[in-house]
Subunit: 364 residues, 4 copies
């Protein structure tokens, strides 16, 4: 059941990095939703490896193929299943390292958990599976867009270089450079740092910020499925993520309650807050203000340097670098963060449909 | 379904701060587990309000009453249900504020979600419900202890005051002072800051760190129910939590891959890592090293100062302070973090029981 | 998780026949529903033992006590928890038989499953737990009634005596006699048979029929959660149930397709079927016609006659009759069948709320 | 979520009768299980249309293609996904009837539920989707076989012709004739009846019996997930099923408790029952005796005769027969009943792995 995400808008995924395909099936997408397949492909192309010199040269077309649940690109209410072929798998790249546990990868833990693991590449642990999340997230996003909800994510920090945005950027502004940092000058600095790391076979991490605008008050369910709890789970289930913050996050602890509380006020007839340390969520439920969060990605575990490790037979060995690597996954992770945000919000949009008691006689 | 947590070790809770009781039912606790009720009460007393001058004077005995699933304190495999009475509810404390949305509380969002909310206190949104989590978490902890798993949490930061621990403290060391910070000198400084805030009717937040030792490699399920994802959800579902980190967390982004990767080595015949930036989890699965995390709690929303707000009729008003308040919830939140950790680990302990194919003929 | 029923309208139950109480918590009941507690008590009184000379003399008041989720009898959207005290438990009645497995009871299987079982009475396996289902089912029924859905069940067969109803009876007609068979003459014959069985310490089974009117077309979810599949699970989860039919049931096999198909026609502007062998469900989804079903209850396992059995030590022994017994549970099971029907339909009512794509901009 | 079945051994399916493929993904199958793909194909060939003159001429190869979770035919613990191509779809067969609701099909109810339905054939409602169940069920069966559990189903009744088996047949005996009724003479009579119905464009239903041997005591979970409740749901979720019985079923009502109770006795050192009216299940938990059940299938709704119906515009019309039809699905449904039985038992096998408290220190 751990390959299923969501309760009302449910995504189940499969596939390994070096098998023939990856895929997913969405159960619970409302019927009669017109799907824009180009929009899905666009998000996939933003996640795709090989899109710039900052990323791994592994090149996947990532064409989404629908096999169920669509008729003339309109959802029928039945399971929406789709496949994405693995066209560029090169198992041989990984063969000599197959018996050595790569540091900070999942080789060792998969072996311990299952007593067996895929003989090449990351198998199911590879970030390859996130392509399915991006495709499904794009569908969720299209459902949300009908109701005025917009999601944007961007790179806020690479290694020790941080950009501070005065306001939420547009996706176009985010995509104006390969780093996906809307601050042009900082982006160039980040780009240089990534290329420098690449040159020496090293890797960098970073922080992605995200914002949701247009979500109404009332989404999220106490006490365990609070909106921030589901967002946290969504992000922390991504490969390489080590931290999550909503609203003021860890920096909230530097403030006093009198500084941190968000006063209510009336604006254009609506109840709003005049600050947004809450990040748009109070008591686990959206309050109508922008939902804001941050996600920390560690530096990629795959590096092109010698490392100390242990092999399957329990011998201490030196791992020789081989294969392809992504010096910094953060730019490619932007659409993934957007996708996970969309999956959580679409789920809570649907869940909220049944919380208010309907007028007598109104039946679905 | 949002009041249920866990898939194999499942806790469902109910109750509001000013109703007659709160309670919980655990479905999935293995049979024949001897329950130490005193140990549950001990954890409840650590969470209890009124335990020191640092906390709210609201005083609840928090006696756990089992009504199902136990025979002579041994689990029978059937649902383990328990109640905790609300003995000190004072609805009148809240009456004059009933129609005003308290800033950074859940009054407004509950109203928007359900079209109705409890007329006094926080109702279901009150941190009162965490007592049920603590009781259930203690049972989970007892199940885990049989298998050598130990959990400890402690206060690492209050407001801007941070303690740095060289190693994991014992619970005794944590409880040596009312702040629950094992560093004695820093604890005193934190205590002064909390009392100072209390004096001016203000509040402080802080960071709790936690560590799990003795968990074997193999717990946690890719790709969505990664161990850190479930821990993140557990913590972010707590009232007032704004951030979560596993292992190196946000600080991982300051390192390069060559610095951050955890090399494998052999120690006493076992495969270990010589650093633990991973926080004991790789690819969502425990690797046998200590599991480490951090949780950020915002400053309590209830303060004894005037605040700007809006009432139910949409008028901008000033909220007058009244009632009781907790100047810093972090010391009391220590057993709550331990409880949520235990619930997640007990769940994954049980889930892992069925992942390896059993020998032919071995049936349960 | 096996003590939870439903996906959107979710009931979780606890309690054993000889513990202090039984109880339940409903998660997912919409807010702002006015609860008629008398209506709940009325259904509980119909299920209650000791209500007539046809039933066990064990007498339970079965007063429902709400402890969460209600304010002035209106639902708040938070978990609706309630307790029912066990006021007439007599563990001593069962003591001498404690070590002997009662034939066709669950003593042996609980022992094998859990390695432990309650030392007296049926524990969790007792039909006592169905009181919780009846209370929860009454709430579900009140939610459904707002939308014009009516449920009625009645006794169709006791032992070999069968009544044939020309049309669906009212609940008043059902309750006109203690057997709850709307055919007065057949009811008297059934009553005599039950009293005769009681006299010789034997027991009888029977069949309960049920009908749902007013449910709109569109409820039920393919392919696994078909409406009849969830109804079947609901009924087969009741103690003593051995069979379930929807619509024409087993007798459908005696007909040819040309005889069994339900032709569509137009009546008062609506599409209806001119026969109803389908029992109101096609492809797992309601079609707007009455939903009809039948449930078979075996003769009660508790009899007042000597029986061959085995004790916990593996010795063949003779079980001596002792305690109280219910010569025929079928009359008391009528409100239980109604309750399980209501739980299934309320669940699918809520689930259907999210299947159609809402107009752009319409958010909950 | 309605396209997912099971809690520990979870199957999620997708696909429509006239799309490019159908498929499924199993989450929770233990690692290191060697899969016999031929055995899967064998069960698929038993379900396959076109296998004899008794069935529809629609001919599907039904080759299962694994795309995830297998390495050298051994399970890796990750999701086991597979596809089955639709090679013989002929949408044009259905075109003229597209706007008319076929009697006792799901056209009308899908339209009412989703506001849209597939324009040809049964779409998701077609029995085509059961091929996925058969493939998944075969995998479940292979897991169960390792632990000595055997499943067999056979045709007991076609139209009014009933066979009475003295003992459980082997699969070979079942497959000795095209009807899959182990009683040779009765099978011939059934065969003639089916061919006679086919000739006049009519259809017949029937009853399938099934038995499970070798299942240990202890499987099944009270109170809602009783083994018979999950089996009932499994069978009632199949297209065309109208009734389900476990053990004595509806005929239990003809007996008194003293006749129907199953006495315990000791045989070869084990506790057994000397009769088996319980059908191997007591209190929802297996008792080690054979698990027996019966499933009623209505006569196929597709017939080659004129029928009264209504079209999408609400006009009463006559439906002209066209296309292919299956005069009696019962013989082909035998492996489907076996598959659903296997899915339920594999689920409960895995669930039972965590019910007993493990020895201190024993961790998975």
């Amino acid at each position: 059941m751990s390959s299923t995400f969501g309760k009302a808008f449910r995504l189940t995924t499969w596939g390994e990095s070096h098998g023939p395909e990856i895929g997913g099936v969405i159960d619970g997408c409302p019927a009669n939703l017109k799907i824009d397949v180009d929009a899905i492909q666009h998000q996939l192309s933003r996640r795709r490896p090989g899109q710039s010199k900052l990323t791994t040269p592994r090149d996947e077309k990532d064409q989404v193929i629908f096999v169920s649940g669509l008729q003339d690109n309109v959802t029928t209410g039945t399971p929406l299943a789709f496949r994405i072929l693995n066209t560029n798998a090169k198992p041989s790249d990984y063969s000599n390292a197959a018996s050595i546990y790569r540091p900070s990868h999942a080789d060792f833990t998969y072996e311990k958990k299952y007593g067996i693991r895929s003989s090449s590449g990351g198998g199911r642990a590879s970030a390859r599976e996130t392509a399915v999340r991006v495709a499904a997230g794009s569908i969720a996003e299209q459902l949300l867009a009908r109701h005025g909800v917009q999601i944007v994510a961007w790179v806020e920090k690479v290694h020790t270089i941080r950009a501070v945005a005065a306001e939420f950027p547009t996706r176009n502004a985010v995509d104006a450079n390969a780093v996906r940092c809307p601050s042009v000058e900082v982006a160039e600095e980040m780009s240089r740092a990534i290329l420098e790391a690449k040159k020496i076979g090293d890797s960098l991490g970073g922080v992605i910020a995200a914002a949701v605008t247009g979500a109404p008050a009332g989404w999220g369910e106490p006490v365990f499925d609070k909106l921030e709890a589901d967002l946290a789970k969504a992000m922390m289930s991504l490969p390489a993520v080590k931290g999550f913050e909503v609203g003021s996050g860890f920096s909230s602890t530097d403030l006093k309650g009198s500084e941190h509380n968000d006063p209510f006020a009336v604006k254009d007839g609506a109840t709003v807050t005049t600050s947004n340390f809450s990040g748009g969520i109070q008591g686990g439920i959206s309050n109508g203000m922008p939902i804001t969060m941050r996600v920390a990605f560690k530096p990629t575990a795959t590096i092109m340097q010698k490392q100390s490790s242990v092999d399957e037979q329990g011998n201490e060995v030196t791992l020789q670098p081989k294969g392809r690597h992504d010096p910094c996954v953060v730019p490619r992770a932007v659409p993934i963060v957007e996708a996970m945000t969309a999956l959580v919000l679409a789920d809570h949009y649907l869940r909220q449909l049944r919380h208010r008691n309907r007028p007598a006689g109104e039946t679905p």
